[in-house]
Amino acid sequence: MIRNKKLWVSAGALVLFQVPVVGASFFAPYDPAAQNRDVPSSPPTSVHFADWRGRFHLRPFVCRWVGDTNSSGFPSSHEDCSKTSSLRFFVHNQTAYNRQVLKSSRHLFGTDGTEKLFLLGTDEYGRDQFSRLLYGGQTSLGAGFLATGLSLGLGLVFGCIAGYLGSWVDDVVMRTAELFMALPWIYLLFMVRAFLPLNLEARQAFLLLIGVIGITGWARPSRLIRGVVLSVKERAYVLAARGFGVSHVSLIRRHILPEAYSVVLTQSALLIPQYILAEVTFSFLGLGVGEPQPSWGNMLANLQSYYVLKAHWWMFSPGLVLLPVFFLFYSLADSLQRRVQIIDLVN
């Protein structure tokens, strides 16, 4: 019961986590690619209830952020509360960003004036870090899910073929799997990128990334699925079905594959965070989706600079978001694994 509870809590929390990412066009207040060049690298906007005269306002407001230079010539910025904008919910604002999963012209929150609410500050181009975090999640989480789907699909096909047919087919598939497991992903992506034309659309770069991650990752799940198939195909009910003349395809589909589903489910919970990390790594190195499309990886790339590490703490946000995502996925995988073991014991 406690295990079940942990499983449902993890799964529920993950779903809750995905909601603002999938619905970024509603939850994000601004276009993630829009540059506000007057407010580069500004910290999270302060939300005020009292104005400069000390008068309390029921409706919170934000002040203008002014980029400036101090007497030594170094950049310094400050708030100017002579210009303010009030916060509003469900504001109507059509963004120009055209890579939205779900399109919405209404946003959860925003301001009613020219001053903007940067919940997590801005990057060095003045782009809203919160909006980029949500839209970047679409890229990073999306890559994780889609690459896992591809990997598991291939793993299922090859694992079943190798396990069911055995003999030299098994040898060929498994040796190929070992070869793929030994492939260095990053160099493979370098190689693939070098052969492709320079003018890759962001969408094409995204698909390429998923392709490389997914195709190179099929080996491990296929070995696991092969093991399950090898074990199941010798069970009495499978042998009985074969004796009654059931075709190979039906045998695999109706009697063997259902036994592998729990392994697939557990593997997916393990692979998704791995592939999210792979996307983040590639984009961090400049091999993933290109500017201006956000991804958690290319957002984290800013942290390579000592200055950003030292002075712009709000740029850590994609890294901080990755921690609970990984924790929840691994917690889910652990719960699924234990559930599978219990079912096996019962059987």
Partner: protein
Amino acid sequence: MRFQSKRGCIWIWIFSSWLTLAAPSLAAQTAEAHEDVLTTAGDVGQRGGHLVVSLHSDPKTLNPVNAVDSYSKQTIGLLFADLIHINPYTEHSDAALAKSWKTSSDGKHYTLELRRGIRFSDGYPFNAEDVMFSFKVYLDEKVHSPQRDLLEVQGKPIQVRKLGPYRVEFDLPEPYAAAERLFDSVRILPRHLLQPAYEEGKISQVWGMGTHPSEVAGLGPFRLKQYVPGQQIVLERNPYYWKADSSGNRLPYLDEIAFLIVPTEDAEVIRFEAGDIDVISRIGADNYEALARDRHAAAYQLQDLGPGLEYDFLFFNLNSVDPQKAPEIQRKQAWFRKPEFRQAVSAAIDRDAIVRLVYQRRATPVWDQVTPGNKMWLNAAVPHPPRSLDRATGLLRSVGFCRRPDGVLVDARGQPVAFSILTNPSNVQRTKMATLIQDDLSQLGMQVHLVPLEFQAVMARVFDSYDYEAAVLGLVSGDADPNPEINVWTTGGGTHLWALTDKEPTTDWQTEIDHLMRTQTAMLNHQERKRAYDRVQELVAQFDPVICVVSPHVLVGAKNAVGGFKPAVMGDYVLWNADQLFWRPNVAASR
């Protein structure tokens, strides 16, 4: 008697041994009367201590004949000396191993008077034979020295003749403006050490990084002491150096300079902040800000020297490409070849935003190749038009481009204007610059894709395969004079980046640039040369073969205790006067 003579022999042996061991240290103190020592101006410092600086990578060689990478050149610059040296601080030519020189009235003959009585760092005397040998090596086609190109005038090598043990004459095939600047960075080699290797045809193979320090000798302020691969190179004071301060003390002041190998700028900045490194140069604007926050507590000084000679630019591929292999590039070159297209791109680039956002205001916008750091050759009359999307749109309309209802810019045949820009992610500033340019051009309806590639891959596409559409790069000249730039601006030049395949000029303005660049080299009157080069700058700014964007400032730092610190905007920014650097007394003791 026999006993006495034996005792005498022992005394002679003891005395000669002492002389051998003590001679360098005696020589180290003050210059001897028969030496033609160069007396320097500036602060009189104190002897002793060692200075720690950093290199991002190991030098490849200590051989001046075939050194091409900047790390080797930086190390070699402290081990060897040249005949006439361009002072990075004043940008003028200074006497070095040649104490004086005369130019013939036709500008074709240079007679150099060499310093007498000076020695290499191994104590061997220097004379005209070393100069003859050095130039013989550099000009030998079989040696393939990169200096050979610099020693050619109008495609013909200069000739050198020995007029006496300390006098040489250089004959130029044609009059050449400011020819004395040709001798800068042509390091004089020790004939006594290298002649056997040269005669065996192995001169390029000597003095690799594995060479024992005792086998390397030069006329620079320091000599090799130790090299630990991947960790550090330690140079020690040359006791025979030919410069002295105004009090007659032989330079350099420092006993040692250690180059730590620190692979990245960020690591370098962290180690400078921690006090492991004493002097730092080429700091990025972001890191400069990071250091500036703590500079008072950490007891170091930072200097923004203003724009140097480096400029960053965007350029389009105007090479002749094979239509079978690269049909897309060829199709897009129909846009790139239109001056109005390039002018529109230039007009749309927000240079001020790049200065502010990328360089934290530590760069200067530029519209041509001569930066404000090059005061002698800057053409102040070149217009600096502010950013104008309206002007850019007008220019595009004038050559048939228009915007579709969805905002996408299309050419006269209805093809959307989309192209890629190569960037090098290891240069953070240029990558950020490209991101801003991408956004600027999107406001004209252009779809720009950024392609991050490793630096070597970018170079291979730009110089060899011509498989690119546009790229963001930077150029820096080692000299303020326009002559070394001839390779960049004339057709057929090795660094004529945007059209390396062209053998003849294809436009009127390029023909004019070729003519001006070639004729100015033969003009002996500075004003005439200035007028010619001013016109080149105007043509570059008007026709934008490369779209010059910004000139980053030279940002350097040093511990407050480093005396004689006088950074310059060209050459080795901080170590060009390494022979005059010293530790102020209270800190030198701690080193």
